[in-house]
């Protein structure tokens, strides 16, 4: 079994995240870059299979700037066998379609039995790349799974959408995407950190993957920062806090006046 896991480097949600108001792109200098939490869960799903099936191979793939190498290194420390870094200045600011085209080329080279992605990144929150990949590679997509069972020839999982819980199955090869309800990610062990130093971390470009220029792209036309909210009135409860709050709400027409 060969499992490819897609990794994205994102700004840490624990800090302030900013867009560059001239380019509309992420201001990478404004926040710390980390492995997206959802992708750590995706990797954990693969690693749990590998824990039980020692012959399984787990490949972590990321497209991103030079710093994304650190995200891949963390994936290797957690237990991935090797990593592929798609590092290409020409891909800076790539939209979901372009990203999917390049990832599809990288995955085409790997011919994995199973591809695991997060259901949506914490920064772009688009959640469309897994489906684009499925279409480009002609694979089934079992998307937004909260739990996953990987079998020899089939992958199964549960998907909760709106008012329904469905059990999905897909014959391998297949793509799945997992939600934040899926496996809680492990921390790299000391042994894992040491072992990662010897694991292969390959850098490739769009051209070396045989991907041509983009035909169509999304454009950010304008970017505006919403003015920060300001603190309003604040009171200490002196036994009448509830009544004063009710009066404040009523005075603004936010609750019925009875």
């Amino acid at each position: 079994m060969k499992i490819a896991v897609l990794i994205k480097e994102v700004p840490d949600t624990y800090g302030e995240r900013r867009l560059d108001v001239t380019t509309g792109l992420l201001d990478r200098a404004a926040s710390d870059a980390v492995v997206d939490e959802i992708d750590e869960r995706a990797l954990e799903v693969a690693l749990q299979y590998k824990d039980a099936h020692k012959d399984a191979e787990v490949v972590a793939i990321a497209m991103g700037p030079a710093s994304a190498r650190d995200s891949l290194r963390k994936a290797l420390q957690m237990g991935a066998d090797r990593a592929v870094h798609i590092l290409d200045d020409a891909l800076a600011g790539a939209d979901a379609l372009r990203t999917a085209q390049v990832l599809a080329a990288a995955l085409g080279r790997e011919q994995a039995d199973l591809v695991i992605a997060g259901n949506e990144s914490t920064d772009g929150r688009g959640g469309v790349v897994p489906a684009m990949l499925a279409e480009m590679l002609g694979l089934p997509l079992a998307g937004s799974l909260g739990s996953v069972e990987i079998g020899e020839t089939v992958v199964r999982g549960t998907r909760t959408t709106g008012a329904e819980v469905a059990r999905l199955g897909a014959a391998l090869p297949a793509i799945i995407s997992v939600t934040e309800k899926s496996a809680e990610a492990r921390f790299p062990s000391f042994k894992g950190v040491m072992a990662a130093k010897k694991k292969p971390l390959e850098a490739v470009t769009a051209a070396s993957l045989g991907v041509g220029p983009a035909a169509a792209t999304s454009l950010v036309l304008t970017v505006a920062e919403r003015p920060a909210r300001e603190a309003g009135e604040r009171i200490e409860d002196e036994g009448d806090g509830g009544r004063r709050l009710a009066e404040w709400l009523a005075a603004r027409g936010l609750v019925g006046r009875g």
Partner: protein
């Protein structure tokens, strides 16, 4: 503006690849300016596959759609509403996913509404098998979180599942939806479906009442575009007070029952 609006996506799992092929044909035949779908798990899968087939960019999670100089321009609320952007597609007709509750899609001018049931899914596309499906009881008698005019949310300070009933009592007194912080959900005080924030639902109600919620940046990302924010917290340094229009520093188990009495007395 001639846009295809795709509706009726409930229960399409297992047919999404076939529907994407059928929808691509429909979009080409109609020479649409854009194809609009809901930004839901099913809608996004259909959008992603459709875009890959058409070679079209996807403009995701739009909160506004308009025609500008002959092309479709979308508006987006990014990083929990900290930034507002507009976007368009260059080189191909865009596929647009629209935030639930943000727009009345079928009412858009020039909307050609296509129900998923009207489309004949293409045969032989690799897809998942739905082995079983069951409805989740969601009828709480309260308004839906995403579109509610008032949201009452509880956090860590509520302290227990039993005590969370107080959050629900206030919600019912106001005809509001019930929300919760991630800590409250992870601690089992409230169901996952109530989670507001970066990894939960993003809400933009007229009034958001935060009870015992400290206001971590991930929580604020899901509610800071509310028109009015009210907070009750015993910690005067809680960051939620920095964005609250009215804050009460105090014990929510003292303040909230008095608030409910005052509301019911009105």
């Amino acid at each position: 503006m001639a846009v295809i609006v795709v509706t009726g996506l409930e229960g399409i799992a297992g047919r999404i690849a076939g529907l994407a092929a059928a929808l691509a044909e429909r979009a080409r035949a109609a020479s649409a300016d854009a194809v609009l779908l809901p930004h839901t798990p099913d809608g996004r899968e259909l959008a992603g596959r459709l875009a890959a087939r058409l070679g079209s960019p996807v403009l995701v999670d739009a909160v506004g759609v308009r025609l500008e100089d002959g092309r479709v321009v979308t508006e987006h609320s990014v990083f929990g509403g900290s930034f507002v952007t507009t976007a368009a597609a260059d080189g191909a007709v865009p596929v647009v996913t629209v935030r639930e509750g943000a727009l009345d899609l079928p009412a858009l001018p020039g909307a050609d509404v296509v129900g998923a049931a009207e489309l004949a899914p293409a045969e032989g596309r690799p897809d998942v098998t739905v082995e079983s499906a069951e409805a989740v009881p969601v009828d709480t008698g309260r308004p839906e979180l995403r579109s509610a005019r008032i949201v009452v949310a509880g956090g860590k300070g509520v302290g227990s599942r039993e005590a969370f009933a107080l959050v629900e009592r206030l919600a019912d007194a106001l005809g509001a939806a019930v929300g919760a912080s991630r800590v409250a959900v992870d601690s089992g005080y409230a169901p996952q479906s109530a989670q507001v924030g970066q990894t939960g639902t993003t809400v933009s109600p007229d009034l958001y009442i935060a009870l015992g919620i400290s206001g971590a940046i991930q929580h604020r990302a899901g509610m800071q575009t509310a028109k009015t924010i009210v907070a009750v917290n015993s910690d005067p340094d809680a960051p939620i007070f920095e964005i609250a229009d009215f804050g009460v520093v105090g014990d929510l188990f003292e303040v909230v029952p008095q608030l409910i009495d005052a509301l019911e007395g009105r």
